[in-house]
Amino acid sequence: MPFRSTSPLSRLLRKSPFKPIQEHMRAVFVCICSLPPLFEALFDQDREKVLEHAEQIRNLETEADKIKSRFRLNMPKTLLLPVDREDLLNLIADQDSLADICENIGKILTYRDMEVPHTLKPYIDELLEGTIEVSGEARKMIEELDELVEVGFGGGREIEKVSKIIAGVRKSEHNIDGVLNRTRQELFAIESELNPVDVMFWYKIIELLSNISDQAENMADRLLLFLSR
């Protein structure tokens, strides 16, 4: 006789939504970490390597996408969550756009065999470094979600800790703004020497890189919403 469990309890408890969010963020972070090697290959004028890295980022983005879709499908409106369902869905959307931006950058570099202005390299490197830093902070923030559930997202030391990380994300984003300005100024200074269409694309790439830190800051703002009662 098949005696199935009739426990309403085991049906009541759903898998924590924070685990897939963390899993997704880790995947996204790997995507972002693949950007420096991509640009390295570009500056080395190694076309083949550029394609290879772009392809890798595309695959990582697909992975992250799968996690996101699975997450969304498992979030019916009847769930009782410690945080607002909308905020949670927006948070993962923010995370996902980070991976999308990486994929876009990869695409642009594969579509166009671009001219590489070497005076721009130190600026781009600094920009990439800052981007990784701010995304790393954002990931650290997401890794704290489990602990936040334990303390009920309210008051105390864990919140202080997360607030510090959030402040860190904002500060890093602010620093990147400075780097962005300098990079654009440098690009403006040398733009007459470059192919005009390449210049256009470089501006586009810089903008995309700036979008990453913007999105990381958005995530910090979302998390701040969780903490505010």
Binding site: S7, P8, R11, L79, L81, E150
Partner: protein, 421 residues
């Protein structure tokens, strides 16, 4: 009258068989659910859970089970209308037992979250309507029981909410959570022992011929509380902080303190379950036994014989050993989302509420109080996600169970009446 003297032994045997069948079903499913939390949290193995269940289910049934039993036996139906036909009540109780057990088995194989308590009450009402007349059902009592199905999970939820808040304030949200966890663990375990024994003792243990006054009960409960606290302290005292383990999740060491603490709530759950749910199986059995052994006296108010409580406890244990362990495995696997600290709060709240209800004689549903307690943890923002659709399913299963038990009891009643005349 003649029927009872002619078929007395057969009817008695039938009552025992049906009673065992019902308690077997309770053990196979209900008890397994009640203990699943501890198994899921990894606090006890299935073997240990069965051992705990055997001991504490029995204790609960024998020590605190009497009150609910008398509600099931005498509280819902007024047999005044059939005082001259005591065999009607015997058929009715037999039919009710069989109907409830049968419905429970169908629901268990289909995977519906029905309650043993709802099954038996539905069956009793069903029999009373056709066997004695609708006016014989004490509808105000029934309404009280129905109201308690809503109130008791709410109480369980409130207690667990407060417990979660207290663990947060005293342990998790401090500079040194592990140190505080070890410091307050004996205190929480004291509460387990103290509350459960106090509630059990408070109305005295008349059927065991033990009378304790108010202050004596307090003192005795405090003693048991201190004893459990001491055992608890022994378990948690050597838990060390291993920083490596805390890298993934900062509260890993703290949760290790709560794991052995769940051992105590597992005992409390089994005790609470025994005190309340055993009555669902043996209440009608006790009624049959008292009618037959008194030679057809319907209205008598004899004490509940101890052997019936023991028989009920045995049936439940049998159900647990034969099928319940399997249910426990599946339940346990699926509720690992509840961390030991949260599981502890939920179980302590649920056990307290159930024992409290038992003392007032209300037949409540252990599983649903546990659901209420888990909801309380969720409302304290201590759980990742709870699926509220389940609440709808529970309510639906309540609504279905009462008439299903009632209709089956009616059919069995007429069958028995046809057989014995």
């Amino acid at each position: 009258m003649d029927i009872l003297t002619t078929y007395g032994t057969i009817l008695m045997a039938l009552a025992i068989i049906f009673g065992l069948y019902m308690t077997w079903g309770i053990g196979a499913n209900d008890l397994a659910n009640a203990m699943g939390t501890s198994v899921g949290a990894g606090a006890v193995t299935v073997k240990q859970a069965i051992f705990i269940a055997i001991v504490f289910e029995f204790l609960g049934a024998v020590i605190a089970g009497g009150h609910v039993t008398s509600t099931i036996r005498k509280g819902i139906i007024d047999p005044a209308g059939i005082i001259d036909n005591p065999e009607i009540l015997v058929y009715g109780m037999l039919a009710s037992l069989l109907a409830a057990a049968f419905w429970l088995m169908i629901a268990s194989t289909k995977g519906w979250p029905v309650s043993t308590t709802h099954s038996i009450i539905g069956a009793l009402i069903g029999f009373a309507i056709v066997g004695i007349g609708p006016e014989s059902v004490k509808w105000d009592k029934v309404m009280k029981i129905v109201a308690s199905w809503i109130i008791s999970p709410a109480i369980g939820g409130t207690i667990s909410f407060l417990l979660v808040m207290s663990t947060r304030k005293l342990i998790l949200d401090t500079d040194n959570p592990l140190k505080n966890a070890k410091r307050y663990a004996p205190f929480y375990i004291f509460i387990v022992g103290f509350i459960i024994s106090l509630v059990t003792l408070f109305k005295g243990l008349k059927h065991l011929n033990i009378e304790l006054s108010g202050p004596e009960s307090f003192a005795f409960a405090a003693l048991i509380g201190l004893l459990t606290a001491a055992i608890g302290w022994y378990f948690v005292r050597n838990i060390q902080d291993i920083p490596n383990e805390n890298r993934e999740f900062h509260y890993t060491s703290v949760e290790k303190v709560f794991t052995p603490m769940m051992l105590f709530t597992a005992c409390a759950m089994a005790f609470a379950h025994g005190s309340n749910d055993v009555a669902n199986g043996i209440g009608p059995l006790a009624a049959v036994v008292s009618i037959i052994s008194s030679g057809g006296e319907v209205m008598q108010s004899s004490e509940l014989p101890l052997w019936i409580l023991i028989l009920g406890g045995s049936g439940i244990v049998l159900g647990l050993v034969t099928l319940g362990y399997r249910v426990m495995l599946t339940v346990g696997k699926r509720i690992t989302e509840l961390t030991p600290s949260r599981g502890f709060c939920a179980e302590l709240a649920a056990a307290t509420t159930v024992v409290l209800a038992s003392r007032t004689g209300l037949p409540v549903s252990t599983t649903h109080i546990l659901v209420g307690a888990v909801l309380g943890v969720g409302l304290a923002r201590g759980i990742g996600a709870l699926d509220l659709r389940v609440i709808g399913n529970i309510i639906l299963s309540w609504l279905v169970t009462l008439p299903a038990g009632a209709v089956m009891a009616m059919i069995f009643f007429f069958t028995l009446k046809g057989i014995f005349g």
